[in-house]
Symmetry: C2
Subunit: 307 residues, 2 copies
């Protein structure tokens, strides 16, 4: 099997999308139409066998995840996904049908979110499977929402529930693209980040960029049922604070916008709860319990180390 076999299959399998991509897959590069008043948002993510996924997870779910993590990054900017390109490093033993399964997982999600898969690069080697997806999106008048912009006094809000994603959500999560769009239409979102490496770590990142601190209210963190199913000696709250790959949106809004959100729950029809989990303060990052105890909250969570 060669890259040509794959491209031939992809050309038949992928829907034509001349409004987005006037040049079909298989040329030296993809060509996209671009609306004049939209900024371009670009994000890239690499998934690696052994650290981000296992072959046992199934190629379809792995392919889906490779695109989904990129859509989550676009959601964090409140950008609308447009197109994606896919690079594959394939173990030499991998079959065409396995590669097609990878793509089927991506294509299903791409169709759901109106993303055109417009090109890629397929290589084989003696190493493990590696998948890189680069997605581009556009932002209109309500975006982009950056990590910086949170102010002392802002309320910290989060979509969905946290913790225990290793039990399945890290593969099957729904990127919060629609939620982000709805949020910025309903409120002035000061800062936003997707929680990919753990709430505590990504909170540190948002605060660092915004030049502020935060208090998280321990009892208000929405804990996922999965967080309570892990029997590793850590509490469900510890999992909710430190587990990576929940891909929920953490954002900061003014208290009046936050209160309106909590009463109206604008994401209810998407079945996505919004919770108020904390407060921006001038400095320091703390976890506060209902009984008044307050402790420092370090940047728990996942970090890629090398060297």
């Amino acid at each position: 099997m060669t890259e040509l076999d794959l491209v031939t299959w992809l050309r038949r399998r992928l829907p034509d999308n001349p409004t987005v991509a006037p040049v079909a897959i298989g040329d030296d590069a993809a060509v996209l139409s671009w609306q004049s008043d939209k900024q371009l948002v670009l994000t890239t993510d690499m998934l690696l066998e052994g650290s981000c996924f296992l072959i046992e997870h199934g190629f379809r779910r792995v392919g889906r995840k490779a695109l989904a993590v990129n859509l989550s990054d676009l959601a964090a900017m409140a950008a609308e996904p447009v197109a994606a390109v896919v690079s594959l490093a394939l173990p030499r033993s991998m079959s065409l049908s396995a590669v097609q399964e990878l793509y089927e997982g991506m294509i299903a999600l791409a169709d759901e979110f109106g993303v055109a898969i417009v090109g890629g690069d397929t290589n084989s080697w003696n190493g493990p499977l590696a998948i890189n997806v680069t997605a581009c999106g556009r932002v209109g008048k309500h975006g982009p929402v950056l990590r910086r912009g949170a102010q002392p006094g802002d309320w910290l809000m989060i979509t969905g529930t946290l913790g225990g994603s290793i039990l399945g959500k890290h593969l099957d999560f729904i990127p919060r693209v629609r939620e982000a769009h709805r949020l910025v239409e309903n409120a002035c979102v000061h800062a936003m980040i997707d929680v990919s490496d753990g709430l505590a770590r990504d909170l540190h990142r948002l605060c660092e960029e915004s030049g502020c601190g935060a208090v998280i209210f321990a009892e208000q963190v929405p804990i996922s049922p999965a967080a309570g199913m892990l029997r590793d000696g850590r509490t469900p709250l510890e999992h909710a604070l430190a587990d990576g790959e929940d891909f929920e949106l953490l954002f900061a809004v003014a208290p009046e916008d936050a209160q309106k959100m909590l009463s109206q729950q604008p994401l209810q029809d998407l079945q996505t709860p919004i919770s108020h989990i904390g407060l921006c303060i001038p400095e320091g990052i703390y976890l506060r319990y209902a009984d008044g105890r307050q402790v420092q909250l370090p940047p728990l969570g996942y970090v890629h180390e090398f060297g």
Copy 2:
């Protein structure tokens, strides 16, 4: 070392480019300004240790190549490079200074071609080094130039010389971005491809897309001095036809445009010769010798196989 150490260094090291990228590196995604009348061109390429490069080549040259192959794809579309994002899969033992060397190689080339490095993803694993770069560019009124569009009667032209790139050019080639820009300003280029997997193979691709055939004139193929230095039993011409990674531009133009080019050599100040190497015909792909012999020219060259 962590990804944060690298991002901190990159933020200091990379020049601010607010006209291209109004959001600095380190957010969930990069944000680019986009001119209203330009189409967006997107390309992605993955380089893998062992098959595309060796550690012994040095991290700076490898990093440079990872960006250069993408710029070559943009050149093949006659697109102007704008920005790039970089994904790295790092062996756990790789030092921060080695990663910085990789980036220094990319940055030097990015500066030369006015490309903003606007984001990326850095991961570590137990596998070999893998580098993915996605580049975006824009095309104006003269582009994009596709692989399809060549017509019987067109002359086939090539920049530079071919063969033996393994001796160094596969790492140090200059992507033909300026040349492509000059070509489309001076002539109506019907079809174009960058020769990455061997002249014969990429000619087959161009012909396949254009729905035509071709004759290559054996004695007119510009053979690089390196092709003559390889002592592996193949002739210099065979190397020029089959060796990959020359990253020259193969293109088709009408005979009158071709003749004008040959006499004026519009790339002379870039020290890039243009040669007339063949002719588009209705069907079949042949190699013709000056003595009149003609043989079929199969798609020699490199192909990634898997499965």
